[in-house]
Symmetry: D2
């Protein structure tokens, strides 16, 4: 089986109070825990209303960018399996003990060729969704702000997207749903790859760029209507919007990009078709990348490709 989903994004924020206002009041995430890490850093843990594990987002005060990603596997044995594959791929893998991350079980940790830290785990403390599991309501009666139900995916940069695609394929069992290539020829270069192990249109995308950087992480919304409403709320809450409501050609998703108070790029994302491993990978050629990324404007803006954390 392998990777079930992106379990958590652990990111840095420059100011915890501002960050809490953003993630709790504007995005409507639920705080499940806060503490001070061993090294003295303040941390806050969040989940969306429709998530049942203890947290899907960890904020850590000090700096910006991503500390690490947690990937949840379906079976305990998947950890060992991925460990073997990671070693076979040439990665240095360390064991992670239960409790190194609050409410997360043991597992493994390694640094990707793109210099991002990945943790793989099977167990997380069950917290329950905000609607419960018995005769639930369709959504919580009193949502706050955007009311994001769940973490969805992330986009990172790498000096070698092709190598990352191979790693994600060989070690994580991912497959590419969409790709941007320099051409349709055999000897094309890979500009970016959108990858998943399940029916989500992507769990992790990788585009060419500096090592170890975060482009954005995204929360799932239900519809284009919710995407528009999210943008309205961001204006009311003075959240800087990077890209106003539009559709992606790649994934067909509908989107708003914006920044948290520390400058980390967030996205709210809806739609996108169901991915299946037997669907032919959609290939975009780089001359159509504007339309691929922003289906309506059909052009990339410089900020979108250069601002990373």
């Amino acid at each position: 089986m392998g990777i079930m989903r992106l379990g958590y994004a652990h990111v840095r924020v420059t100011d915890m109070a501002e960050a809490k206002d953003h993630y709790a009041s504007t995005l409507g995430l639920y705080e499940t825990h806060s503490d001070t890490a061993a090294d003295g850093a303040k941390r806050t843990f969040y989940k969306g209303w429709d998530e049942w594990d203890h947290h899907s987002l960890v904020l850590e005060e000090g700096g910006v960018g991503v500390v690490k990603y947690g990937w949840k596997v379906e079976h305990e044995s998947d950890i060992d399996d991925i460990e073997s594959k990671a070693k076979a791929f040439g990665l240095t893998v360390e064991r992670m003990a239960k409790g190194e991350n609050p409410e997360i079980g043991d597992g493994i940790r390694f640094t990707t060729p793109s210099e991002h830290v990945f943790e793989v785990y099977h167990q997380a403390t069950a917290y329950g969704t905000e609607v419960g599991s018995h005769n639930p309501d369709a959504f919580p009666r009193h949502l706050v702000g955007v009311g994001a139900p769940a973490l969805d995916h992330s986009l990172i940069t790498s000096e070698d997207p092709k190598l990352m695609e191979r790693m994600l394929t060989d070690v994580f069992g991912f497959y590419a749903t969409e790709r941007v290539q320099t051409s349709l020829d055999e000897d094309h270069d890979l500009v970016g790859t959108w990858m998943t192990s399940n029916n989500q249109i992507h769990q992790l995308a990788v585009i060419g760029g500096p090592q170890g950087k975060l482009h954005h992480f995204a929360f799932r919304l239900d519809s284009w209507n919710d995407v528009g409403r999210a943008a309205d709320l961001m204006t009311m809450d003075d959240v800087p919007i990077d890209v106003t409501p539009t559709r992606h050609g790649i994934t067909r998703g509908q989107t708003v990009y914006f920044f948290d108070p520390s400058g980390n790029r967030n996205e709210v994302f809806s739609g996108g078709y169901l991915a299946f491993p037997d669907r032919p990978t959609t290939v975009w050629t780089v001359d159509q990348i504007g339309r691929g990324i922003f289906y309506h404007s059909r052009e990339l803006n410089e900020r979108f490709t250069t601002v990373l954390t």
Copy 2:
């Protein structure tokens, strides 16, 4: 009573074949007539599926920009009434004979202080909507492209918006639903005014700029969903989009701006609250004009304020 609605926009296009492709195939308007004017110019007449009068858009080959607007009054006697008021305002009014505009009755014609030509008429040949008047369907079973139901409003520029507001008030019985002012002080300058005589949030808006120019004319859509779909179709049809889907602060409407093949700016517009003359006029101060015009990006782009036809 006075003005019932904006009955038609008569605009110039550089190439009729391209224009027809845009207005018929992409926007889904219905061609009701085509002819050659007395001066040899090719003309095509269109209506939206939910309009019952003979046409609401006239394209005339040769140049760009607006030739004139037609304003339909509720009662025959409104024509005389408006003629009196126009003369009292100091405008030069001429009589317009039935048939000067195909399928349009007699009326009056005058040039506004902003140097736009306005025609006022009461009678138009009944054509019927595409769903008919007996046990109609909710919409036509086979719409083409965007499938715009109706012309909605226009925005023009004027060297003196205050004078235009006064003219529209005194002669047409319009009231301002929203305004952009340099300040909230008594002695503010008027940057723009959104005016109507009915419950449409605006029939005509006027902003400061050169005389006689067209900023855009707009077609009405039902919802934010239709606005997003319209933008998708414009990408498929290679229509240049000026402003991707967003909300206006002013009017609260939801919008896409785009250009016809001649460079005339069009809009699809949905939402906006019902206007009433006793509602306090919404006032925007110029420091908030970014948020007023584009609620999500909160900034004007230069193209939007400078490209006119």
Copy 3:
């Protein structure tokens, strides 16, 4: 000019505490006043977030059904004009003093041929919308429940809809946007009429039935999406739903019908095309009334036609 809009519905409820929970917590109306009337009845006054007059809904404890409707005119002089027309129509008109209705100016009152009480007034205390009039947000940042912006229209029953249509035409200057008739022949009977004086698709509809009864009064919503969400919230709040989300053939509006705790039928309503007096009246024949009322099920249910208050 005549009638500007339906200014208020004044209705009876059996239990004020239950009613407040429904109108404030589920529908999200804003309480602007409460008092005890001269006759000892408890009253509560509400407005929607996008209304600027002091109230649009009055609840009075004791019984069910409608006490009266308030109709707001554009000009002070419209009151006298309507008074003359009402007398000419043969109605008995009485003068209503400022303050007989809290925060409402003077005017006239008469009983319609359908035995409903109508009040006509020009002045109401300005309260302001919940977003204000200076650089407003697109909607209030913290809406409650359905968050209905405004009262929209009402449907009443009458033993003689034809007479009521004539009265509304002659006295109020209304016109019929849609009609249900027994046939398309000249000598048809009128089953129901949807009437307005402005661009709202209806302000008051009248169908055949007992005198003096209320079928429903409706609040305006923005979209089909809001209609669906309103139904979800009603389930969460145990509000009895009469008709689940659907479209009307008549008016094209999208709708949920439900009951307040006293058994008065409410509606949330979105869409419907802009009405204009020169649009041909849409005529439904009674054999198509199922499709006319409920476009999807295409059949009336008995409860809908028989439960009145």
Copy 4:
């Protein structure tokens, strides 16, 4: 890995011409093949615009109900694996040769405890989606009718839902996302189960009822807006609607149920949350089944539970 998705539903229709009109003109499916089977039955093969395999729906003239379901596995070896598990479960499994179903490879076939025929296969002729795989549009420029993108799931009846749940778990590797039980006690009876092997909220649901029957099969839509539009089109095309637009409590999906001309129940379905095997199964108790099935009306109607094909 096991089952990747429901690959095809093969159903009987009484009249092929009427059926083609329904599935092609109203639902907007694409006919990819038609032939006459060995036994003389006329057959037509369809796919949705966003499907890439040769077909997802087979119509066979003669009778009503489901002939069989095809389940596509990710790896060739999954067929043998499922064969072993099916035999271990006590099912009689036969081998199916390539070409027994046009454009479908070899595999296995068995009859479930509920007396439905299941086929398991790995290979289908690639046909390609209607938008292609290179720089695709977001959807086909000229969709017909509802324009359903893909087959989604089916609901069948069984005398022993618990046994079917066990079979689907043991043989197909499915897990229950939602369940209806007589109570929350250990010794409850199972009224129905909603099962999946991937992130679709259900691929197959089983409720108590007669053996071998079809309740419905469903096509996926993008949004509540598309669900409403589908219902509008069904009225225009005189398609009998069983349940007008509403939400399910179970799965949270948004839905319209309707009948094809032969009386087979169809559904269009949007939304529903992403399923994951570690999410606690949602349990509905039978006293809340009305709200579970129809979230807005909160009551089952007799037709829905008794009309099967």
